[in-house]
């Protein structure tokens, strides 16, 4: 593990944006799997999801979240020195989406802008990278945009969202603590095998096949080894959270809220029970918003905690885990930050 402390950086605000279109895992699934789907919904805890129409991308959602956030912060766009995007659904394979957004958002050409390729673990990594860049004072105000367009009509897990987080240089800010990890030996557990240089898209990826339920599947679709992901998440995350609390010299009772990546109910309940956390300190958006990949921690803050987090000071532990395999946690004191209402686009 790598543990680190970032000083002089204030968590100034955050906004989340989801598509307007709501998809029901029960009503919008093929009739032949409806009965089985009821059991799936009961166990993964996801009833409705948000899905982009064809024309809408992750960056469209992140753009709308950013515009709302900057308006409520009353930040001048010329003040933004850096823009980091973390997504696995970029507008194009190249160039980086962050650079396109620098121009689209009307940020100055002097802005540092680049993408990071991470999924469900993204948030703590993003806060660390951007926070470390800002800690010396060269960058005064910056944005971190996190999310994905990962929803499909058939698969019941993923949901679309884009989020924007604002950080600012502030020598009076309380420290942020991080615990960050990677284990590439598990890279096959969640992957999109085709479309990169190891396996370029060819004609064999374009012919759908019927699965045992008679549903057409794409050979180029995401591959997810559920048992491997579950074992990884429930074995790795609880000790990582304990390690972070020890590193930060923070008693578990001192944390006001634990916000975990919204993977599925089975994984999230197991992590919570292993850590002995009360339900009221562990907000969930699985039922309404599904698994929004790297955006799930911000989306949960917006949907469940925005009013609380806008008033006073709260100690929040955030922990993301998934594709890579990769897992990262952080403790952030959020003090009267700006949290716009959920943006629907």
């Amino acid at each position: 593990m790598t543990q680190a402390t970032i000083r002089n950086v204030r968590y100034a605000g955050m906004a989340s944006c989801v598509p307007r279109r709501v998809l029901s895992n029960l009503n919008d699934c093929p009739p032949q799997i409806r009965s089985a789907r009821e059991r799936v919904v009961r166990n993964i805890g996801i009833e409705t999801r948000r899905i982009c129409p064809e024309w809408q991308t992750f960056s469209d959602l992140a753009f709308d979240a950013t515009e709302r956030l900057l308006a409520e912060l009353q930040w001048n766009k010329d003040e933004i020195d850096a823009l980091i995007v973390i997504t696995q659904s970029p507008d194009y394979l190249i160039p980086a989406t962050a650079i396109i957004l620098q121009d689209r958002l009307g940020l100055k050409p002097g802005t540092i802008a680049f993408d990071i390729n991470l999924g469900c673990s993204a948030y703590a990594f993003g806060l660390h990278v951007l926070g470390a860049m800002m800690a010396s004072g060269g960058i005064r105000k910056a944005l971190l945009l996190v999310g994905d367009k990962a929803a499909t009509v058939i698969e019941p897990l993923f949901s679309d969202a884009g989020t924007a987080t604002a950080l600012e240089y502030d020598p009076a800010a309380p420290p942020m603590y991080f615990d960050l990890n990677s284990d590439g030996s598990g890279y096959r557990a969640i992957m999109l095998p085709a479309g990169g240089h190891r396996e370029p898209i060819g004609p064999q990826h374009l012919v759908p096949y019927k699965d045992e339920d008679g549903i057409l599947r794409s050979p180029a679709a995401l591959v997810l080894d559920g048992p491997a992901v579950l074992s990884f998440s429930t074995q790795r995350v609880p000790p990582a959270v304990r390690d972070l609390l020890a590193y930060a010299d923070c008693p578990i009772e001192a944390v006001d809220y634990f916000i975990f990546h919204q993977a599925n109910r089975m994984i999230n309940d197991t992590i919570r029970k292993k850590l002995g956390l009360p339900v009221e300190k562990v907000p969930s958006t699985l039922h309404d918003f599904g698994n929004t990949s790297g955006a799930s921690i911000p989306v949960t803050m917006t949907a469940r905690l925005r009013e609380v987090l806008q008033s006073g000071k709260h100690k929040v532990l955030m922990s993301g885990f998934g594709i890579g395999l990769s897992w990262g946690s952080c403790i952030v004191d959020i003090d009267r930050a700006v949290f716009p209402v959920l943006v629907e686009s």
């Binding site: 799936v40 166990n43 993964i44 559920g226 048992p227 491997a228 579950l230 074992s231 197991t270």
Partner: protein, 74 residues
């Protein structure tokens, strides 16, 4: 250690059968409609939380009978 009967009750909860089923140690897992990847997730969690034992999806794929799963409690 749990008896087979105690184990079977926990196993039924973990798999989350749509309708009540009668299971014995000799029940072939392949005859159970709900013996799928979702069931595997539930059973892996059950082993972890109830028996403090980490099993994998591969361990479960190699099981043919309910008693084979019970033996993993070991």
């Amino acid at each position: 250690m749990d008896t087979l009967e105690q184990f079977v009750e926990k196993f039924k909860n973990a798999v989350d059968f749509q309708d009540d089923v009668h299971l014995t140690g000799d029940t072939n897992l392949k005859t159970l409609a709900e013996w799928d990847s979702l069931a595997a997730l539930g059973v892996i969690i059950m082993f972890d939380m109830e028996y403090d034992k980490a099993i994998t999806g591969k361990d479960l794929v190699e099981c043919q009978l309910v008693s084979d799963v019970y033996k993993l409690v070991g």
